[in-house]
Amino acid sequence: MTWENSAITITTLLPLAGALVIALVPRRYEMGVRALGIVFTGAALAFAIAITFTFDYGASGLQFQLDTSWIPAIDARYHVGIDGISLPLFVLTFVLSFLCAIYSWRVVPKPGKTKAFIGLMLLLETGMAGTFIAFDLILFFVFWELVLVPMYFLIGIWGSANREYAAIKFFLYTLFGSVFMLLGFLAMFFSSDIGGGAHTFDIITLQQYAASGGFSQGFQLVVFAAVGLGFAVKVPMWPFHTWLPDAHTEAPTIGSVLLAGVMLKMGGYGFIRIALPILPYGAQKYAPWIGLLAAIAIVYAALACLAQKDLKRLIAFSSVGHMGFVMLGIATLTTIGINAAIFGMVAHGLITGMLFFCVGSLYDRYHTREIAEIGGGVMQKLPYLGGVFAFVAIASLGLPGLAGFWGEVMALLSSFSPAQSLSTPLFRAFMIAGGIGTILTAGYFLWMLQRVNMGTLPEKWKSEVFGDIAAVEWVSWVPLLLGIVALGLFPSLLTDVTQAPVNSLLGLFGA
């Protein structure tokens, strides 16, 4: 047990340990439970930060590896590790979870049940973090599915009016995708041959096997479809996105934050980590289609946003658009595109997480999310909250100098000259669609700000007493706001980390 081989395992399992501890605390110690939530997510975050400091940014390949026996009967191993692609998302998970725990100090949504709420949040954290470090397909799948049950209950118990429908829809949709993914994993396993008729679930070994041309073209086409379906539902790619607006809208604030901030990234990460490197031929063949769906998603989401009346639903749809840029980047199969995708995912995690925090806090005060109900004048009533909201919305529409800008512009740039095997005119068309999307995105965000933030305060709210941003909210938001600015001003903070592993990944495509 050295720091090198146990650090990420400890970090990932700390929240789970926290959930078990909380299960043992008597129900009456409500604040104690909330404090424990902060302690455990905080400890996990401290470990994650320690990992970023001990991470060797110059080295290539996996670090903090642990590859040990898990289920010999089915050749599944406990293989975890971390590299430049995983690290940002891994850290993002712990940052957002910690901030959510702090945010929950102030308020646990109706109907209370603090123990279960914090416990499920911690369980969710373990599942999400585990997905980003698993290098065995079965381990990956277990972590991947581990997030479903806690999120189902978070939406179903603590959600708003239509929560039961949203919860089951979320669960069924994502499960539908992931079971096909599992079959795809099994097919990879049985088609792999690592000598002596042995098969493997190991992602790295499978990559090497794929690089040596082990998987036939027909096989790759079929299995990419199966595996890609699982990831596509999670991202979600248009037209598999319909679970997302419901889930986001109905989920409690921290549920939306974690859903948008981290869970959607699991899908994008899956494409980059598993689908592309193990099935490069399939990736090349499907890339134009992924690009097309991404372009549609960007434009469609922007149009849908223009039609939304519910603030939270609007932001949910904006997520579909932002993830469209991520997928467009991935579809180009270029270094810059994949870097854009990872950048976009991290930026989206910070920005949209923050947007959901803002909307949640608005709802706590106004008890409505209807744009028409709020009726404008938030800047007058709640100047700080309104200001933060405006700042984040502008970050989300991709203002240069803030984090949202780089992911989008790099994605568009990469689709100007996609990988050699892909049709350049086609991707330039996608680029134009994406460009139109950015304009529409700016349009709906500004229009939203105009309707919510600006204008005169309606009569009915004048007599209400709302507290502006509370101390706890500031504490849980400032790190995100700083992150948005920092990544906007210094994008190389992130691209320097992702560059090397992305380069080696794309060696597979000869680009």
Binding site: W70, I71, P72, A73, I74, P111, F141, V142, E145, L146, L148, V149, Y152, F153, G156, I157, R163, E164, A167, I168, F171, L172, L175, F176, V179, F180, L182, L183, L186, A187, F189, F190
Partner: protein, 488 residues
């Protein structure tokens, strides 16, 4: 033929048979207030039988001219059946003591059924198989009708009886044809003869008799289209009896079916694998889709058990000329049956805990249970999620093993795997209906529900087992190799 009886080999059965007689006799001398004492007596007998079984581990014995065999396969199932018997006895105690039942007779009958279960995996002869199967079923007919004053229980018993007798007759006819064809009752011998060339015109006869026998067992495991009795019978029976029928009785059917198909009839696999494929698809699909409509929890579990039987039948359809795949298919089916039984038994334990205050056992009666009885609410959630096959719970690994063999088999296996994953997704929506009521909906009142201690203990035990196997599936691999039968 050597007629010396190996008493060590049949010791567990002897102990259980002795207990059965003892329970019946002692019951006659107990005053009505003390009738409950039959349960501790029965419990002790099962424990003794379990200990006797455990001492046999590692032995390979055979007696009655090879009709009764003790090997790893048999021992695995025996230990499993006796453990299920212990759990069923525990959950029955309060139920039968507080209701107006003939307690002594109940314990007598249920133990007799378990004796049949115990014999089943050791039976390597058509006659023994038939006797074991009837020994499981016949007391079951009476048990299903044990709530005498309730017409639905009478319906349950009579339906079970009629369907049971009909399918038994068909099966027996098939067995007699096989005997006429091969001149042997021994499964291994039958397998040998059927593998060789049959006289002209006898091929069809062999296939027809296999079909008859499969139909008989399909009733036992409630496969579509032989499932009609199951929901009504489960609903009408006393809940512990339904628990028995859904777990031990069904597992016994599968134990018999496994031996027949993998030992006696493997040569004809080209004929019967498509039949099993169709049975499996129909059973899982119809079970799942009808389960979606259910509002009563025992019926829900009944249709769930039908759907799950479809998953268990799937490995049969994967049998091919490749012995490696056959062994894996066999192991997948066995593992699935064992894990399924633990989950279902746990779910029934929770239902029994609810049965005292909720007569109709509607799913909506579970509303707000998470506040009233958090322990069993969490347990029920675990069972439901596990039955749906969500990792990291035991039910996932059961399904995983089936998927694994199916994908390895390729061809029809891939198609079946796809149908099965779609079914699993569908099943999730009704499995979650119960946790949804318990957790999302507020109950009419907040009065704490105090489930009987023994029932809670069973639910907790099953929860721990489901979670432990889920997190550490390697536990399953510590079972003896499951392929002893197929290797022959």
């Amino acid at each position: 033929m050597n007629q010396a009886i190996d008493y060590t080999a049949i010791l567990p059965e002897l102990i259980l048979a002795g207990t059965i007689i003892l329970v019946l006799v002692v019951d006659a001398f107990l005053s009505p207030a003390h009738k409950w004492m039959a349960m501790p007596l029965a419990f002790a007998g099962v424990v003794a039988s379990l200990i006797a079984t455990l001492t046999l581990i590692g032995d390979d014995r055979s007696t009655f001219g090879g009709a009764f065999v003790v090997d790893e396969f048999a021992l695995l199932f025996k230990v499993f059946f006796l453990s299920v018997a212990l759990l069923v006895l525990l959950v029955s105690f309060r139920y039968f003591r507080e209701g107006r039942f003939y307690q002594g007779e109940f314990y007598f009958l249920i133990l007799t059924s378990f004796l049949g279960c115990l014999l089943m995996p050791s039976s390597r002869d058509l006659l023994m198989l038939f006797i074991s199967l009837e020994l499981v079923s016949a007391p079951g007919f009476v048990l299903a009708a044990f709530r005498k004053s309730d017409p639905r229980s009478n319906e349950a018993g009579i339906k079970f009886f009629l369907f049971g007798v009909l399918s038994t007759a068909v099966m027996l006819y098939g067995m007699s044809l096989i005997y006429g064809l091969t001149g042997s009752l021994n499964l291994v011998e039958i397998g040998r003869v059927l593998a060789g060339p049959l006289p002209q015109g006898r091929e069809t006869l062999a296939l027809a008799s296999i079909l008859f026998i499969v139909a008989g067992f399909a009733f036992k495991v409630s496969a579509v289209p032989f499932q009609f009795w199951a929901p009504d019978t489960y609903e009408g029976s006393p809940v512990p009896v339904a628990a028995f029928l859904a777990t031990a009785s069904k597992a016994a059917g599968f134990a018999g079916l496994l031996q027949l198909m993998f030992v006696a009839f493997p040569a004809q696999y080209e004929f019967w694998t498509p039949i099993f494929a169709v049975l499996s698809i129909l059973t899982m699909t119809i079970g799942n889709f009808v389960a979606l409509q259910q509002r009563q929890v025992v019926r829900l579990l009944a249709y769930s058990s039908i759907a799950q039987a479809g998953y268990m039948l799937l490995p049969f359809a994967l049998v091919s000329a490749n012995p490696a795949i056959n062994q894996d298919a066999f192991a997948a089916a066995v593992t699935y049956i064992l894990i399924y039984a633990v989950m279902t038994l746990g779910a029934f334990a929770v239902v029994i805990a609810m049965s005292k205050e909720s007569r109709g056992l509607l799913i909506t009666d579970f509303a707000g249970l998470s506040r009233r009885a958090p322990v069993i609410a969490v347990a029920m959630t675990v069972f439901m999620v596990s039955l749906a096959g969500i990792p990291p719970l035991a039910g996932f690994w059961a399904k995983f093993l089936v998927f694994q063999v199916a994908i390895q088999r390729g061809g029809i296996g891939t198609a079946l795997a796809i149908i099965m994953v779609i079914n699993s997704v569908v099943s999730l929506s009704y499995y979650l209906a119960v946790p949804k009521q318990m957790l999302f909906v507020d109950g009419e009142h907040e009065r704490p529900l105090m489930p009987p201690v023994l029932v809670t203990a069973v639910a907790v035990f099953a929860t721990v087992a489901v979670v432990a196997v889920g997190v550490w599936p390697e536990l399953l691999a510590h079972f003896p190799p499951l392929s002893t039968l197929v290797g022959q």
